[in-house]
């Protein structure tokens, strides 16, 4: 009995150590480019780009095959530009629109929950046969909810600037500082 325990325990210990060592020694670094590309994407995994999630799109971008850098619609032009600078390629033309949020016309909503299921960040609240609404602060502008709505009551509306989101512009700088 004792021998069996010792031998099996010994075996487990040796192979465990071996595996642990191998994990450190032969550790494969993730592609740092993929990491930074993922960080540049909105992280909502909405699938608008045609890839299953932001990470997959980042991998595809970093891969051999040339694919468009302008596929991320929620990220829009700023995201496309940061991808361009990370990959060292020219920015591409993209339908430019400011940030938007989904808006549900509540008088038309029939409470079918289809949009709730579609939203990748659960920014829509509501229940069966109850009018739904979008929590604007959480909406990522992916428009995944627009298509599934059977009564077309969801609209992507531009975010309006309030005094709480307004920003100072940069002085036009007719002179140069340095």
């Amino acid at each position: 009995m004792i021998e069996a325990i010792l031998s099996m325990g010994g075996l487990a210990l040796v192979s465990g150590l071996g595996l642990g060592y191998a994990a450190i020694k032969f550790h494969v670094e993730g592609n740092p480019l993929v990491e930074s590309l993922t960080a540049a994407l909105p992280a909502s995994n909405c699938g608008n780009c045609g890839y299953p999630g932001c990470h997959a799109y980042a991998e595809a971008l970093a891969g051999e095959e040339k694919i468009s850098i302008g596929l991320c619609t929620p990220g829009g032009v700023p995201t496309m530009e940061s991808i361009a600078s990370l990959l060292g390629v020219e920015p591409v033309a993209m339908e430019a629109h400011g940030p938007r949020v989904a808006f549900i016309h509540e008088e038309k909503c029939i409470g079918c929950t289809a949009c709730i299921k579609a939203c990748p960040v659960e920014a829509i609240i509501g229940a069966n046969k109850q009018s739904h609404t979008v929590v604007a602060e959480m909406c990522t502008d992916c428009a995944a909810c627009v298509e599934p709505c059977p009564v077309d009551c969801i609209e992507m509306v531009p975010v309006t600037t309030s005094i709480y989101t307004w920003q100072w512009n940069k002085p036009d700088g007719s002179g140069t500082i340095h």
Binding site: P42, M138, W168, K170, P171, G173, S174, I177
Partner: protein
């Protein structure tokens, strides 16, 4: 006892802009007839905005709360006079964006009748400091020097560091403005009364009233008033801009420096404006909330400069009309002081709690030259009261080097405008700083949003996966239950002892994988019991 006080110290840099105080220095504070409409914004302070607590059409009395404070760092808004709330609408506000803010439109009924429930405190100095603070909080008092930080927060001493000295800021270092000077000259007794309550709230005994020596009338009046009250000392300071800025005033009077990112309370000092002291007195003695303030209407472009005591929410246009209107050739109307104030593009902007002045400036009073290149003269560095490097900060902001703005301590900048004032190339330095600060804030917001998106998307994925697993498990359970039933039916004639028939099929699925236990077998059990 207390801190060594002397006026011999000074802060780094500073400038002497032309004062122009003679325009309104001798104008005694006067009231105005009630305007036709008041536009009272629901956000007049630093901190959370207020929630309206009146409905359109409702009649309100003077001093009645119309906006409830939105948090601890917030201050309620009160009706400045009695009348009817005509509407609650978006109205242009004194904000650099020129955008609107939620305002209550109040049509005065002309009676100016105080709310009957407003009562002062009896023997306030015998009460707990917290009761004083509560009264000040309920009166909606904020820093009236212009920063509009809720006063009850600043009157709460930290648990770790007792307050050693209260500084009352009567420096009024901005050119043109004379409202604080007039208050001190005319209402010295009331101010010292307010100071007593502030000292009690802070549980400290030393108070220094700091006045720049270009206000001899105020110094004389306050000295006389202070003689009758123990613990209050009046200190005349040599003129220097920006001496009235909190950090500079503390350095000049106590020799201590507020650490970067810290608060004056961290070094045992609290600063309040003279106007705030007066508002505190009104709140404690009579229970009257902050509904009025004194505004200096001046500048070479105004026909008759004056110091007006006006209801909050009065449109700027009304004040200008009261002072004889604008002269022709006015280049700019500024809200606040000329160094830190805000140029207005709409005169329907209402006076708010933080409005200290309305200036109508002619061409000779403003700079309208184009921005030139930086010649690296170093003047901005020499005059910066916080020992920052404005040229470096602006360069980084200009090139969007947001990560490097922290290295040059952009967040420490108080936007006093001293650097831009001396810049021979007219570089709008403060504009660059504000751009940089807002860009940093936007970047932070963006990061937070991304983190939120990430966590929510992960949560959704986890939930969907869990739901799917639960469905699978239920299916499996049903199948097993069916099988067991079949088996039991088949073995029914045989004698009992078949384990499977009586044991619920729990053993087939790991119990640990489903917290809360399985529902289906329990339901089955419940049904089986007679």
């Amino acid at each position: 006892m207390g801190i060594m006080i002397s006026a011999l110290r000074r802060f780094h840099g500073g400038v002497h802009p032309k004062e122009y105080k003679e325009l309104s220095r001798h104008c005694a504070i006067e009231g105005i007839p009630l305007p036709e409409r008041l536009y009272v914004p629901f956000h007049q302070h630093i901190g959370a905005p207020c929630d309206p607590c009146v409905a359109p059409g409702e009649k309100v009395l003077k001093g009645q709360m119309i906006g409830r404070a939105g948090g601890y760092v917030s201050a309620p808004i009160h009706a400045p006079t009695s009348g009817t709330i005509e509407a609650i609408v978006e109205h242009v506000a004194g904000h650099p964006s020129g955008l609107t803010m939620l305002c209550a439109v109040l049509v005065p009924d002309g009676n100016d009748q105080w709310h009957p429930d407003l009562k002062g405190l009896v023997d306030p100095l015998d009460l707990e400091p917290q009761e004083i603070r509560d009264k000040i909080r309920d009166a909606g008092i904020v820093g009236l020097g212009g920063a509009t930080f809720p006063s009850h927060v600043k009157l709460t001493p930290s648990k770790t560091r007792p307050v050693e000295v209260l500084l009352i800021n009567g420096a009024e270092c901005e050119p043109y403005l004379t409202c604080d000077a007039r208050l001190m000259e005319e209402r010295f007794a009331e101010i010292t009364d307010g100071i007593r309550y502030m000292l009690h709230a802070l549980q400290t005994t030393q108070c220094v009233v700091c006045i720049e020596d270009n206000k001899p009338g105020a110094i004389q009046a306050m000295t006389k008033a202070a003689k009758e009250t123990r613990n209050i000392q009046v200190l005349a300071l040599p003129v220097m801009y920006p001496q009235g800025a909190e950090k500079q005033l503390i350095e000049v009077v106590t020799g201590r420096q507020v650490p970067s990112g810290g608060l004056p309370g961290d070094i045992g000092v609290i600063v309040h404006n003279v106007g705030t002291a007066l508002a505190v007195r009104e709140a404690i003695r009579f229970g009257r909330p902050l509904t009025h303030r004194v505004v200096t209407v001046t500048g070479q472009g105004i026909a008759r400069p004056a110091n007006l005591e006006v209801p909050i929410g009065t449109p700027v246009q009304t004040l200008i009309d009261r002072c004889g209107g604008l002269k022709s050739g006015v280049k700019k109307v500024v809200m606040g002081g000329p160094m830190m104030g805000l140029a207005l593009n709409d005169l329907q902007v209402p006076v708010v709690k933080g409005t200290s002045g309305i200036l109508a400036l002619m061409a000779n009073e403003t700079v309208q030259k184009p921005e030139g290149p930086c010649i690296r003269c170093g003047n901005c560095v020499r005059v910066c009261p916080l020992k920052l490097t404005p040229c470096e900060m602006a360069w980084r902001a200009r090139h969007d080097l947001l990560d490097q703005l922290g290295d040059v301590h952009l967040q420490d900048c108080c936007e006093c405008g001293t650097c831009a004032y001396v810049c021979p190339s007219n570089i709008p330095l403060v504009h660059y700083f504000r751009y940089g600060k807002f860009a940093l804030a936007a970047q932070k917001r963006e990061k937070e949003k991304t983190a939120l998106t990430k966590s929510r998307s992960a949560a959704k994925e986890a939930r969907v996966a869990a739901e799917k697993a639960e469905k699978e498990r239920k299916k499996e359970e049903m199948r097993l239950a069916m099988e067991a039933k079949k088996k039991a039916a088949a073995a029914a004639p045989a004698p009992a002892g078949e384990n499977q028939a009586t044991t619920p099929p729990e053993e087939h699925a790991p119990a640990a994988a489903r917290p809360g236990g399985s529902v289906a077998p329990r339901v089955a059990r419940e049904k089986n019991t007679p």
